[in-house]
């Protein structure tokens, strides 16, 4: 008998928990794909900025020669400016 009561109780709790969104007056809407794209661009920007910081650190430590550091920094800055352009475009549209 105990097992049967437990089964019914578990089932009831589960059903109430699951169907609740169907009766809710307000359902949180997922962010849309555009937001996700913007987030991806922001993430790319963050990754590039972090790489610039890392290159700076490697240079300070003496792991990167002046030549390597200048070349790496220049390439990363170019990449960052392209991403920032994309972010601005996305913001306008």
């Amino acid at each position: 008998m105990f097992a049967e009561i437990m089964i019914l109780l578990t089932f009831a709790v589960l059903v109430i928990f699951i169907v609740q969104p169907l009766f809710a007056t307000h359902v949180a809407i997922h962010s849309d794909t555009e937001d996700d794209e913007m987030q991806t661009l922001q993430l790319r920007k963050e990754i590039i900025f972090r790489q610039i910081k890392e290159a700076e650190m490697e240079h300070d430590m003496g792991n990167l020669s002046d030549e390597d550091y200048k070349r790496t920094r220049l390439m990363l800055k170019e990449e960052a400016s392209l991403i920032i352009d994309d972010i601005e475009q996305q913001g306008k549209s």
């Binding site: 097992a3 437990m6 089964i7 578990t10 089932f11 589960l14 928990f17 699951i18 169907v19 609740q20 969104p21 169907l22 809710a24 359902v27 949180a28 809407i29 997922h30 962010s31 849309d32 794909t33 937001d35 996700d36 987030q39 991806t40 993430l43 790319r44 990754i47 790489q51 890392e54 290159a55 650190m57 490697e58 300070d60 430590m61 003496g62 792991n63 990167l64 020669s65 030549e67 390597d68 070349r71 790496t72 390439m75």
Partner: protein
Amino acid sequence: MAIYGATLLNLALGLAVLTQIVLFIHIRWRDERLFHVGQRMALGVSMLVTLAAATLTVLLVKSAFEVDYVAHFTSKETPLLYKFAALWAGQAGSLLFWLLVLSIYSAVVIFQNQRKRSDLMPYVIAVLTGVQLFFLFMVNFSTNPFIPVNADFIPSDGLGLNPLLQNFAMALHPPTLYLGYVGFTVPFAFAIAALVVRRVDAAWVRGIRRWTLFAWLWQSIGIILGGWWAYNELGWGGYWAWDPVENASFMPWLTGTAFVHSIIIQEKKEMLKTWNMILIISTFVLCIFGTYITRSGAVSSVHAFTADKFGQLFLAFVLVIIAISAYLVISRRQVLKSTKRMESMLSRESGFLFNNVIFVSLCFAVLWGTLFPLISLKLMGREISVSIPFYNQIAIPIGLLLLTLAGVGPLLAWRRTSKESLIRNFSIPLVIGLGAIAVFFVMGIKSIYPLMTLGLSFFVLGTISMEFYRGIRSRTKRFKENLFTALVAMTSRNRSRYGGYIVHLGIVFMFIGFVGKAFDSEVEATMSRGDHTELAGFKFTLQEVEEKVRPNHNALVAELNVEKDNKIVDTLNPEFRIYFPRTNREQQHSELDLQTGIMADIYSVFSGADHTRGLYAIKIMINPLVWWVWLGGYFLVAGTIIAIWPRKKKE
């Protein structure tokens, strides 16, 4: 209670099917409410599985012998800790445990991403529930842990847990390994979701980096604990035997390690997208395949359970995963194409790529060796097993290559390394490595592999030390910090980098430990009280043998004095145990004793006894440098925890 547990599993199976249907309708018609319902259904599946596992645990602890599983793996005498451990001791229980871990992970993923990755989440949940569905099918229809005993009466006592499994490390080894195995389901689910929605950029990689490292950490701990248990319990003096089940855990670890490295390239350089997909899919497939090998008995092993239809279902599941994944990777090949190319062979990217190729090659070799008995049976009609020398022949040179890359890789610059940087970064570690080879050669080590391993280990130690030294020096100069503050600040601001170095230090220590295997020595003697034997300058005297009666076994305990230069340096107490004495299930077991040291372990095994005649078989081994293997394990764990530790928002 058993009926309650079985019903929970039935309900969970039905709910998992409904979750798939509801998520499909949401994806098709974009009804937001249905997504929330699907999410809650998935949480419901997790809740039901958790309740089912809790129910089985209660049955085990209460010694409910009316349940077949409980009667098989516990007895009245089984200590409480091992009653809990019995949850993963048998096939049905361990599958439920797999399911429990996956359910907890699924719930965490759902809560973590409630407001994130909106386009991926329906697919992620569908994949996670899909995997749950398979395991629910297994525990409902193939190996149900709640079925009653096949008799008209309730047994008064159970069979009890295998004595070999009544060990603390063994109680922890399977769950830790499962935390790793199952953990790779999460990055796999995100990979499949990213493929479906064709968004294979840095975002999905960033999302699963911590999960991957988490799974990798547990997989590593599981493997190390397994080795530790084998060394401390099995009495053969080793920690790795290339057993099929050991290999089954090692293969996903290898591809997982390759993945941990190569996602760094995708995140930073947007390269290797296809390769990363293949790696994580392979890792997950190998995890499922590993569970299949462990539980099906398809390849004979000390760990395996008996073969049944269960194995065929597992194999079918593996094939389905491979087919779906292959279709997705092939159909998405355009979006997986990298726009960037490697600029130079002397770059961090190429270092990572070499490391990947080597890890995957080693994985293939291990897979070939593991499956060779099956292949030979099919092709030649007889089962040919591949033994330790085959694996060592392949794994040692490949391992040395990996060790080299662990030292070289971090010192290479991204994109291209100039000659000037190369000379500056490598000259000191090279001198250290070559110096170490010269010193060890003079000390008498002439064999090529031990010498190379030690030389390379010191080379890598040199590169890592240089990295820490330069980082600290740079901070002390720039921010006027003291050494300790500089070390802490540098590590906490670059956790994945310095955590990674600490992991590499751990690997170096392990390799130093592996060298010791080349210098093992042993002696086996039949002794009476007062007899002695000698090995490696030590004298071992059997002082006394005492008989002890304990709750779940009887034991003969030896008192073995260890002398060096006529001074007693230690007393070892190996035991010869009889479990379930005076029953028809009487089982002999040797409980070894050892003295651990930085340079060598003294290892003693009480392997047999004729107590009435006073004759006792004692095996003694000197195992050099094993301590370093466990030390390496601690470093590996500490380094991974540092790398995983979340960064504060303001950083």
